[in-house]
């Protein structure tokens, strides 16, 4: 019995190649991979919104959506339907081109990052040798979208929101980079597939013990900040800036921002799972062969999703507990606490790697 997705993919691949010329087979495969990613993106986003609303409700001793479908699972389907058919208001005095481009920039950036994640054994759309680099570079494009949205809206609240977002992104990108760098130092590769394979026996968070754990926590905090979600939701800041950078957006354009926000949460959790928690690798403990054997039976995509959703739960827990930071606190946290710690952490990691003190 093999529940791996890869088997299915191979079957499809063989079938296509047997019946079609090579060019068409590849073309169809590319197209279907693209479509699958898009569909996966949309479904995941809707799922995440539902999960967030439900989990948030439980934290707040409420019930949460329970009308549409059993336990309200189709709640977000209804939301999406509504959003698709809602009027997009044309607004005077906006910079039209930039205003209408911004949501697409945001969603495209998160789409591109999403595509590079290794979801399961052999399921990865693109596998660069500089995968970590690529993810970091692409995911920071979404800030551009937010800046554009804030600037082109010609709304003072949006403008302040965009500026906050800029400050936030520039700062936290550093910690994200430095904490990932720690693991790159440990593994010696930037390719996501190799990174995952190296964790077959032991996840990096265990391999690199103390510094890897510190890097993991820093990554979670800084990554959470990058998604612009509470307590780091300053660019949106409901109670201060009404809706921040997307105050003027309506209908599906607002929907794009909304979806991208949730998907970014998934992406951050996905990267954290891949880099620190072994990606789709099952939990292996050296020496316990029986245990490892049992763990191997669980399909890899389940491992991946389980890790990701665990991390997402963590992030929701944080989101629904703390009040929002103020802009100066936000910068203090990064420049006075996270940054020095990450630098120190890199030093420790270097010593660790050089001395071979890791597992």
């Amino acid at each position: 019995m093999n529940l791996e997705l890869r088997t299915l993919m191979q079957l499809i691949d063989e079938g296509l190649r047997a019946n079609l010329p090579k060019f068409w087979a590849v073309a169809i495969e590319c197209l279907s991979v693209g479509l699958a990613l898009l569909a996966g993106y949309a479904v995941l986003a809707m799922l995440l919104i539902y999960v967030e609303r439900k989990v948030c409700a439980w934290f707040q001793v409420r019930i949460g959506p329970n009308r549409v479908g059993p336990f309200g699972i189709f709640q977000t389907v209804a939301d999406t339907l509504k959003m698709l058919l809602k009027e997009v208001i044309p607004i005077n005095h906006v910079d039209r081109f930039l205003f209408y481009t911004a949501p697409f920039v945001v969603i495209a950036a998160s789409m591109l990052t999403f595509a590079a994640l290794p979801f399961a054994k052999g399921i990865q759309a693109i596998d660069f040798n500089i995968g970590v680099f690529y993810i970091m570079a692409i995911s920071s494009i979404s800030i551009l979208g937010i800046l554009l949205a804030g600037w082109s809206s010609n709304n003072k609240f949006s403008m302040i929101g965009a500026m906050r977002s800029g400050a936030q992104m520039i700062s936290y990108e550093l910690s994200v980079g430095l904490s990932l760098l720690a693991i790159v130092m440990l593994s010696g590769t930037m390719q996501l597939s190799t990174l995952v394979e190296q964790q077959a026996d032991l996840w990096f968070i265990f391999q690199g013990h103390v510094p890897a754990f510190i890097a993991f926590v820093i990554y979670l905090i800084a990554g959470h900040a990058e998604t612009n979600r509470g307590p780091f939701d300053l660019p949106e800041a409901e109670s201060e800036l009404t809706a921040g950078f997307h105050t003027e957006y309506s209908g599906i354009h607002f929907g794009f921002f909304y979806l991208a926000e949730y998907l970014n949460m998934f992406i951050i959790a996905g990267i954290a799972a891949t880099v620190f928690l072994g990606g789709w690798q099952p939990l292996h403990i050296p020496g316990l062969d029986g245990f490892n054997y049992v763990m191997d039976f669980i399909p890899s995509f389940i491992w991946f999703l389980a890790k990701v959703f665990f991390l997402i739960f963590l992030s929701l827990w944080v989101r629904w507990t703390f009040p929002r930071l103020r802009i100066d606190q936000l910068l203090h946290l990064e420049w006075k606490y996270l940054m020095p710690l990450s630098l120190l952490n890199i030093l420790i990691m270097a010593v660790l790697v050089v001395m071979g003190w890791h597992f």
């Binding site: 948030c56 934290f59 707040q60 001793v61 409420r62 003072k156 609240f157 302040i160 906050r164 509470g230 307590p231 939701d233 800041a237 409901e238 109670s239 201060e240 800036l241 009404t242 629904w320 507990t321 703390f322 009040p323 929002r324 930071l325 103020r326 802009i327 100066d328 606190q329």
Partner: protein, 540 residues
């Protein structure tokens, strides 16, 4: 030498009489001298309330003064301006800063303009409103002031009347904001203004340079309406002033009418009213806490606060038949005696609330983010709070003792032991924690009373038509946001001649500009949450 003689010797031209309070009447030209004497020589540094009056022939102003040493001992100063066409009086806002907004309100309602007040825009009403609604000869024809659906530009020009050296008065205009400033409108529709308040905020990056509050987006003309209602009918309007202190407001007006009628109120009623007041206070403070958490982004804490508040609301629902607006106090007692299960419900609530209070403190008060956002932010000095008469928990957080429960005990407050919660820091955190501490103080008060409610009637019969003897009456209660006063001027009719409610919220809005200067936008929201104003109470 008692106070009356002292004043008589210092102000020989004034008429002094002892009504409910010591009342000093001065002529228009002696107003400044009288005010300065009272303020500087006799130490009356609190201007509790400033009431415009239309005495038929002349217009005038009534000032209720007290000293911060004894905020409960009130002296009344009266003056009038004979000229109905162009009435003018001297301002007292250099003596008591709180007068500035109040004088603007008097201008909008009576048309009296105040010389040397730096800002003589109409408060509450639009600048182009025709007529002065609280004057007796106001023309209420809707044709004069039609419903306008077109938003007018907000003007940043303000007029003022400046007295020249030769005694003549000249009108001058100055700008509040220059057109180079980055001005953001916070409100009237904004999630964190607690209603329809409008701040025009001038920003320098994230920092606030100046705040200009605009009021009146929920001005309903309650005071005018009261003049045409009988006393029992008036009551339902007070609930809707500061709806979170509905019970206390109504307590105040019932007390005012009962005292004027010299009606003896049974002890049982006093106990019930006190209990309900304290429950209302807890509910109000919980809501304030919740909303402040929400304003600062802590949505979960908001829900927890609302959850606990619902417990009180179900008690109200059972006994009073209303959740928020309870309509429970009436003249002579309460509408219906407490339900048999009331005591049990309350006794179950007390330990629950104590437990939850601990949780609230753990999840929010101790939180490093919240604490850093509140400590040292929005500092209000004791002088400022007295000068602007910021009473209630916000004033007490700055060290201004103004608790009417202590200074003018009413209800059953003279029978319970409790501490007035005082702090000295005066920052957002002090105001925040003063509220949480008041919740536990209120729980203690309830605990002392709940088992000792005396037997007796819950309602004294009154005459079918209530006529107050001619005179002026003012009664005070400690509402959730500060000292709430009801002033009734009666001419012996079945309807009052003039009613004034002392707004607990107006001083809170008046200080926003000063205490949020140079702080950040996020701080303005937190400061607003910690001041906890309720806008319908300000606008009336």
């Amino acid at each position: 030498m008692d106070l009356q003689e002292k004043i008589a010797s210092l102000l020989p031209s004034a008429t002094i009489e002892q009504a409910q309070y010591l009342t000093i009447s001065v002529a228009k030209n002696d107003l400044r001298k009288a005010a300065e004497t009272l303020r500087h020589q006799l130490g009356f540094d609190i201007l509790w309330s400033l009431t415009g009056m239309d005495w038929g022939t002349a217009l005038g102003v009534v000032y209720h003064l007290a000293s911060s040493a004894k905020p409960g001992e009130i002296v009344v100063l009266k003056t009038q301006a004979e000229d109905r066409e162009n009435p003018m009086l001297h301002t007292v806002c250099d003596l008591w800063a709180t007068a500035e907004l109040n004088e603007r309100e008097v201008y909008a309602m009576f048309g009296i303009r105040f010389i040397n007040n730096p800002d003589m825009r109409k408060l509450l009403l639009n600048e182009n409103w025709v007529g002065f609604p609280l004057r007796k000869d106001y023309n209420a024809d809707p044709e004069l002031n039609p419903l306008n659906l077109h938003s007018d530009e907000v003007s940043d020009l303000r007029p003022k009347l400046v007295e020249q050296a030769d005694g003549t008065v000249k009108e001058e205009w100055d700008e509040i904001f220059t057109n180079k400033e980055y001005i953001v409108n916070i409100g009237p529709q904004h999630p964190a203004t607690h209603g329809v308040l409008h701040f025009r905020v001038s920003l320098d990056g994230e920092a606030i340079k100046k705040v200009d509050p605009h009021l009146g987006y929920i001005h309903r003309g309650i005071e005018r309406m009261c003049e045409s209602l009988t006393y029992p009918q008036m009551l339902h309007l007070t609930d809707r002033l500061d709806y979170l202190s509905a019970h206390m407001n109504r307590h105040a007006i019932c007390m005012c009418v009962e005292n004027a009628l010299q009606l003896e109120i049974p002890e049982r009623v006093k106990y019930i009213r006190t209990l309900m007041d304290e429950l209302t206070r807890i509910a109000s403070h919980l809501l304030a806490w919740s909303c402040m958490c929400m304003d600062m982004g802590g949505l979960t804490a908001f829900i927890y606060g609302m959850r606990d508040r619902e417990k009180i609301l179900s008690i109200f629902d059972d006994t009073c038949g209303g959740r928020l607006i309870t309509n429970y106090n009436i003249i002579g007692g309460v509408m219906a005696d407490i339900k048999p299960g009331f005591q049990k419900q309350v006794k179950e609530f007390i330990p629950y609330m104590r437990k939850m209070l601990k949780e609230h403190n753990a999840i929010y008060t101790g939180n490093v983010i919240a604490k850093n956002r509140m400590t040292g932010i929005g500092h209000m000095s004791r002088e400022l709070s007295i000068n602007q008469v910021v009473s209630g928990p916000s004033g007490r957080a700055s060290g201004f003792s103004s608790d009417m429960r202590k200074h003018r005990p009413y209800g059953a407050y003279d029978k319970v032991k409790f501490n007035e919660i005082m702090r000295t820091e005066g920052d957002t955190f002090a105001r925040y924690s003063a509220r949480l501490e008041e919740i536990s103080a209120s729980l203690d008060i309830i605990e002392q009373l709940i088992d000792n409610i005396p037997e007796g009637q819950s309602l004294v019969k009154t005459k079918a038509v209530i006529r107050l003897p001619e005179g002026e009456y003012m009664e005070w209660v400690e509402a959730a946001r500060g000292a709430f006063g009801v002033y009734i001027c009666s001419k012996g009719e079945k309807t009052p001649y003039r009613v004034k409610f002392r707004s607990t919220g107006m001083p809170l809005v008046a200080v926003v500009d000063e205490i949020s200067r140079d702080e950040k936008i996020a701080d303005l929201i937190a400061i607003g949450g910690s001041l906890d104003y309720v806008v319908p109470d300000i606008d009336r």
